[in-house]
Each structure stands twice: as structure tokens, then as C-alpha cells.
């Protein structure tokens, strides 16, 4: 089973990359847009859109085996425009890294360490990530496999402990829905699936040319993330109710706070959940960090050096410290969505169109 040996690390890579901030903030974002108990349908729709988009990316990369998006862009649209496109993609990966670690820092600051400066929290995270990235992709994949069970265990524990807090009335009515609102919700749920676009980076290491294994990998990865999101949506709505979701900053953590043990000191489960969740942030950061570094190196034709690594790290760190507060941070999220549109849809579409012209010329 040659395909399975290859696909498991890649599946884990995708799942670890996709799951990040969304699991904590998405329920609120979607509740404000959709605002009905069946808004988890939006998540499924968002997952389907993401899957279709991922297949499209694969169609593009399939033509160029063992090449990344950074390699093919200069080839297809000319050296300088290609480099510009690469730069946009790199900007996107750096921006998304900065955004997620800043959100993490805010949460850590709220719930765990209220005296530690955010800078220190972020520095520790970026430094350890820098170290991991400098050791190369194969080690990153190993690391992700090592921590993947821990992440799943945290999620499983949270699910099991929250189930008894669910009030079924909050989830009803199920069949009465406003279709247009659900579709509008896709706009926000779709972005919680970003991470699969790193297929365009992974393709440099793995020979991903056949449909069957890639559809399998993408299907399993996006499918399981979708399942986890839907599960967490149902838990969140069931425990907190829609109206409450609209006003809670970090719903999933509040949901963890609603867990009660009959005891004295074992009642702060949200802390345990946070430890597991920070790892998911770290894995997401690692994946984007690696892509950013690869992108820069391919664009300016330099070796992957410690200096380059440090520069990227510094960029991420500085950018993450730009927003002054949480409201500003969330408003930056909207700009980030535009960058996502550019890197996920516009750039690949452009390259795809040019790939036909090139082919015709040959």
C-alpha cells in the first residue's frame, strides 16, 4: 500500500494546518452572520466549497510534478510578474501566521497568563517554531504526527465533558431555515478551512499527480476537519445558545468553562483545553512559517539559511504586534480574507489560465 504510507503524514499535515483559530472564534463569527440554530449547515457548505477549491488547486499542480507554486509562477507568467505573485503568496502566509498567533496571545493573556507580556508569549512560540522549521519538512511532518493524537484527545475530552451541558432546545428548530443567511455564512466558514492551499507547497516534495490518492487525502482531511467543526458548532450552540454566541468573544473556551466537576480543585477544564489548543496553533504556524520561508528562498534564489529563517520570524512577530487591541485584531481579519481570496482563488486561476497558453505554444 504505497499510497497509504505517503498519505497519512500528509493528511495529518493538512488537518493540523487547517484547525487553528477557527475552532475558538468561528462560532461567534458565524452566529452574528447566520444567527439561527442550524448554522452548522454553513460549515458543511463551507467545507464543500473548500474541497472544490482544493481540487482546483490540484488540477493546476498536477501538470507540474515535484514543483511548488513558487516554481511555476515565474515559469508561467514571466519572471517578474511571477515573483510578484510569489510575494503576494508569501505575504499571505506571513499575515495569516501573525493573525493566528496574535489571537492565541490574546487568549493566553485573557485566560492563562495575564501578567506576561504578549511579546514574550509570542517570542517563545516563534522561536520554537523557528527551530522546528530550520530542521526541514520531514521533521515537521514527524512533529505533527507526534502531537496529532494529543490534539484529538483534547478535543475528544472537551466533547465528552460538554455533552451533558447541551440543551436540545437551543438546537431547534432544525428544519426551519433561512437559506440566504446560511449561504452568507459560508463566506466566513470557508476561511476556517484555509490550510489546504499548502498543497501547492507540499507538491514540491511529494509526487502528487494521480487523482485517486489526492482526492482521498483532501477528502479525508477536509472531511474530518468539517466533522470536528460541525461537532464543535453543535456543542457550542447546545451549551451556549445562539444569542449568547453572538456576544461571547471566545465561545469554545466559555463552553469549556461551563464544565463543572463535583470537586474542589479539578474544575478548571478550560486550562487543559487551552494547552491542547495552543499546540494546534503551533502546528498551523509551523506549516505557514515553512511555506513562507520556502517561498522567499525560491523567489530570491537563496539557500534556506538561518538568517532567512530569522528574518521571516521577525516579520511574523512584528506584524503580530501591530494591532493594538482585540477589536482591531478582528478587523484585520477582514483584510486577511481579501489576501486569502487572492492567494486561494485569484493567483491559482491566473496560473491555470496561463498554463493553457504555454501548452498551446509548445
Amino acid at each position: 500500500m504505497q499510497t497509504n504510507q505517503h498519505s497519512l503524514p500528509i493528511i495529518i499535515f493538512f488537518i493540523s494546518t487547517i484547525i487553528g483559530v477557527g475552532i475558538v472564534t468561528l462560532p461567534r463569527e458565524t452566529a452574528t452572520i447566520v444567527g439561527q440554530p442550524n448554522m452548522w449547515i454553513s460549515v458543511i457548505l463551507g467545507g464543500i466549497v473548500a474541497f472544490i477549491n482544493a481540487l482546483f488547486l490540484f488540477m493546476l499542480m498536477k501538470k507540474y510534478p515535484l514543483k511548488t507554486v513558487f516554481d511555476i509562477a515565474p515559469e508561467l507568467v514571466g519572471k517578474w510578474i511571477g515573483k510578484l505573485l510569489n510575494l503576494i503568496f508569501v505575504c499571505y502566509t506571513i499575515a495569516i501566521s501573525a493573525y493566528i498567533i496574535r489571537t492565541m496571545a490574546e487568549i493566553v493573556n485573557y485566560y492563562l497568563l495575564d501578567k506576561t507580556p504578549k511579546f514574550v508569549v509570542l517570542l517563545v512560540l516563534v522561536l520554537s517554531c523557528m527551530y522546528l522549521v530550520s530542521t526541514g519538512l520531514s521533521n515537521i511532518l514527524l512533529f505533527l504526527q507526534l502531537y496529532f493524537p494529543l490534539i484529538l484527545l483534547t478535543f475528544l475530552l472537551l466533547t465528552l465533558l460538554s455533552i451533558k451541558n447541551i440543551e436540545p432546545t437551543h438546537l431547534r428548530p432544525i428544519l426551519y431555515m433561512d437559506g440566504i443567511d446560511l449561504l452568507r455564512g459560508v463566506n466566513s466558514t470557508f476561511f476556517s478551512f484555509v490550510g489546504y492551499e499548502l498543497l501547492m507547497v507540499l507538491s514540491g516534495q511529494y509526487r502528487l499527480t494521480r487523482w485517486k490518492p489526492v482526492v482521498f487525502i483532501l477528502g479525508i482531511s477536509i472531511g474530518s476537519v468539517c466533522f470536528i467543526y460541525v461537532l464543535f458548532f453543535i456543542l457550542n450552540i447546545g451549551v451556549l445558545s445562539i444569542e449568547e454566541l453572538k456576544v461571547i468573544t471566545f465561545p469554545t473556551i466559555e463552553m469549556a468553562k461551563a464544565i463543572e466537576f463535583q470537586g474542589f480543585f479539578f474544575e478548571r477544564f478550560e486550562l487543559l483545553f487551552l494547552f491542547g489548543w495552543i499546540i494546534t496553533i503551533f502546528t498551523t504556524l509551523t506549516a505557514y512559517y515553512y511555506s513562507a520561508m520556502l517561498g522567499v528562498c525560491k523567489t530570491v534564489n537563496c539557500k534556506k539559511s538561518l538568517l532567512m529563517n530569522a528574518i521571516i520570524g521577525l516579520l511574523i512577530l512584528t506584524l503580530s504586534l501591530v494591532p493594538s487591541g482585540i477589536t482591531e485584531l478582528f478587523s484585520y481579519g477582514t483584510y486577511l480574507n481579501y489576501l486569502s481570496y487572492a492567494s486561494l482563488i485569484a493567483i491559482p486561476l491566473l496560473l491555470f489560465l496561463f498554463s493553457f497558453r504555454k501548452g498551446a505554444m509548445k
Partner: protein, 380 residues
């Protein structure tokens, strides 16, 4: 090479300097309960009682001595709660920590003056407060409630919270109203009831409940324990308790039935544009106490009379509560929630007008009892 290793290890020291936010657990002023109250004075309108744990007075611990209470109540006044909390530092060396808070007592005076939403906004904003804190209301002063010597527990605040755990033993006890639930009710814009506590002969006692209006978010009325029973029947919260058939209501002597199982279904039915609520109670009970000598439980059909009388008792209790709620035009019976679930199209159109609709809503009640047994022996 050796030098490199040495530098590496020295650098590690930078990261091993322990936690920036470290807080010794001995230095925390753990708070078990808080009580909020309203003062008549001009400036410092609020008062807040914090119930601290005094670890040294807990028996059985390392330094524990049997003298003194294991808790200390500090009541301070101020114009806002955060200020009061910070003022605690003037009197106690341990900063208050609310992560293990058990209960919160509000007073009638407070809720007559201030809307609940603004009152609790600080406690919702702060991350230390848990959503599982039990909320109570009292007609006395909240400081008095928290000062009542606990009988079985170590802390008054814990005893308070544990009281509502008996909701499956008595119809008069509501399930714990958690802080998170209060927040939910407020964001949903619903009326609800808060369990009431009082002091009875030096002991703490659960009484009825205070009604919070969805419009003013203040206290607008009270329910007696008997009315709590009716409310629990309506909202499908009965999980135990008893139905007493009084002597006056029947030809025979009094009898008491124990509830084994109970469920209520709320069905909003729409017929020709007119909404009707159908309540169907199903319950299985057991004869627990019988004062009637003539009853022969070995004779078939012994339960028929009891069943009918018991059903009547519950039906009257429910009707009474519904009439109160409709008179007040406050839907704490969850009829609105069920209408929005079962008749979403109707709700979409009429929810703005719900107050008026609710007050005139026809309600049909159908109680169905099954008497399953009479216990281990029938001495009569």
C-alpha cells in the same frame, strides 16, 4: 564543541526562570461566595460581600486548628463592583480570586433599583468568574445570608449551592440557576425566575423564587414554593417529589403519592391562525403514605380514585401558575421558546407581539397519572 554545549546550556537558563505569572496558591484569597446589595446612602450605592477561605482554620490541614470559622466575610461598599473588589486589598493581604466561586446572592432591594444586565456585566466580562456559579435572590441582606453558620458543609456558599441539588427530591426546589443560564436568558430577552433563599430559625432555607421581567430586567414579583411546583410541572423539570391529596379534596383521608417519573410536553398548536398551547403531563407514581383505612390495595381498581384526585391537584397547580404569568404578561413558562421551535413560521411573524399574545393564550392541560405500586407492605 565543548564551548558550544556550555553556551547552549547557559542559554537554557533564560527559559527556565519559572513562570512569569506564578501565583502561590497559599497567597490567593480564594472566594467561595459573593453577595451583592444596595445601600440607601448617596455615594456608595453598592455593597459587596466576599466570602474568603481561611485555610488555617480548616480542620485536618497541616496548620489547621479547630478554632474559628474556616471562612471570613468582608463587606465593603462602593459605587461599582470592580472598585469594591480592589478595595478588598486594603483589608486583606490575599488578593481575591474568583476561579472557584460557588454561589452569588442578589437582593430584592438591588434588583428593584438596578437592571440585572448592567449589574452582572462586570462578572461576565471578567474571565475569572465561571458560568457554573449558582445564583440566588433574597429579601434579606445578602451579607446576612452568607453569614449563616453552615450545618453540613464547611462554607455557607457551598451549602447554598448544594441546596438546589435536591431538586429531584422536592417539587419546591428548583434546579440550580447557573450564572451562564442567567446570561443566556438575558441575551435571549426572556423572563425568568431566580431561586429565593431566606433565613429560617438561624438556618438557611430555600424559599420560592423571584421573577425577573424581560423588559425592565428587574424583579417584578415572587413565586411561593407551591407555585414553584406548578412551574416545574409546566416546564418539564419535575424529576421527583410528591403529590399530596388533602383531606378536604376527597371523601377519603389524605394520601401522598411519590413521583417516580414525570415528563411534560409543550405543544403549541396552530388552528386557523389561533395559537393554543397543549400541555401533556405524563407521570408514574407510587402510593407512599396512606391515611385511609378503607382502601384495599389488593383489590383491582384501588388506584382509580387516587389517580383522578392526584391529576386534579397537579392540574390546579399548573393552572394557577399560568394565570399568574399571563396576568403579569411575563413568559417565564418557556411557551415562547417552544412556539419558536414548533411553529417557527408563526413565531417569525408574531414574536414582536408575543407579550400580548401570551397574556391571552388559551392553554389546555392534560394530566395523565399511572399508579404503579404501593410499596412493600400495606398495613391498612
Amino acid at each position: 564543541m565543548k564551548k558550544g554545549v556550555l553556551i547552549f546550556f547557559s542559554l537554557q537558563l533564560l527559559f527556565l526562570t519559572a513562570c512569569w505569572d506564578s501565583n502561590e496558591i497559599e497567597d490567593l484569597g480564594m472566594i467561595m461566595g459573593i453577595g451583592l446589595d444596595y445601600n440607601e446612602s448617596e455615594e456608595d450605592v453598592f455593597s459587596m460581600t466576599n466570602q474568603y477561605v481561611v485555610p488555617n482554620n480548616i480542620e485536618g490541614t497541616q496548620f489547621g486548628s479547630s478554632g474559628g470559622d474556616p471562612y471570613q466575610n468582608i463587606t465593603l461598599t462602593g459605587s461599582n463592583f470592580f472598585q469594591i473588589i480592589r478595595e478588598n486589598s486594603l483589608e486583606t493581604d490575599r488578593p481575591p480570586n474568583y476561579t472557584h466561586l460557588k454561589s452569588m446572592v442578589l437582593t430584592e432591594r438591588l434588583l428593584k433599583e438596578e437592571p440585572l444586565k448592567q449589574l452582572i456585566s462586570f462578572f461576565l466580562r471578567d474571565h475569572e468568574f465561571r458560568r457554573t456559579v449558582a445564583v440566588f435572590i433574597t429579601k434579606e441582606s445578602s451579607a446576612d445570608i452568607l453569614a449563616v453558620e453552615p450545618t453540613k458543609e464547611m462554607f455557607p456558599a457551598v451549602q447554598l449551592k448544594e441546596l438546589t441539588q435536591n431538586h429531584d427530591r422536592s417539587l419546591y426546589v428548583q434546579d440550580t440557576l447557573k450564572f451562564g443560564e442567567v446570561s443566556k436568558k438575558i441575551t435571549e430577552g426572556a423572563s425568568f425566575v431566580i431561586p429565593e433563599v431566606g433565613i429560617n430559625k438561624g438556618r438557611i432555607r430555600l424559599l420560592g423564587a423571584g421573577i425577573i421581567s424581560d423588559k425592565s430586567e428587574q424583579i417584578v414579583g415572587w413565586l411561593t414554593p407551591e407555585e414553584i411546583a406548578g412551574l416545574k410541572w409546566i416546564t418539564n423539570e419535575v424529576s421527583g417529589g410528591l403529590v399530596a391529596i388533602k383531606k378536604e379534596n376527597s371523601e377519603a383521608d389524605q394520601a401522598v403519592l411519590e413521583i417516580m417519573k414525570a415528563s411534560t410536553s409543550i405543544e403549541p398548536v396552530l388552528k386557523e391562525g389561533q395559537l393554543t398551547i397543549q400541555l401533556k403531563v405524563k407521570s408514574s407514581l407510587r402510593l407512599a403514605e396512606d391515611w385511609e383505612i378503607k382502601r384495599d390495595v389488593f383489590q383491582e381498581g384501588w388506584e382509580k380514585e387516587l389517580k383522578k384526585q392526584g391529576e386534579q391537584v397537579v392540574k390546579e397547580e399548573m393552572e394557577h401558575v399560568i394565570s399568574i404569568a399571563q396576568e403579569q404578561k411575563l413568559d417565564y413558562l418557556e411557551f415562547g421558546t417552544w412556539t419558536s421551535i414548533k411553529q417557527p413560521a408563526y413565531w417569525q411573524k408574531h414574536h414582536k407581539d408575543w407579550e400580548r399574545i401570551f397574556s391571552q393564550l388559551p392553554v389546555t392541560i392534560d394530566v395523565d397519572f399511572t399508579l404503579t405500586g404501593y410499596g412493600t407492605q400495606d398495613i391498612n
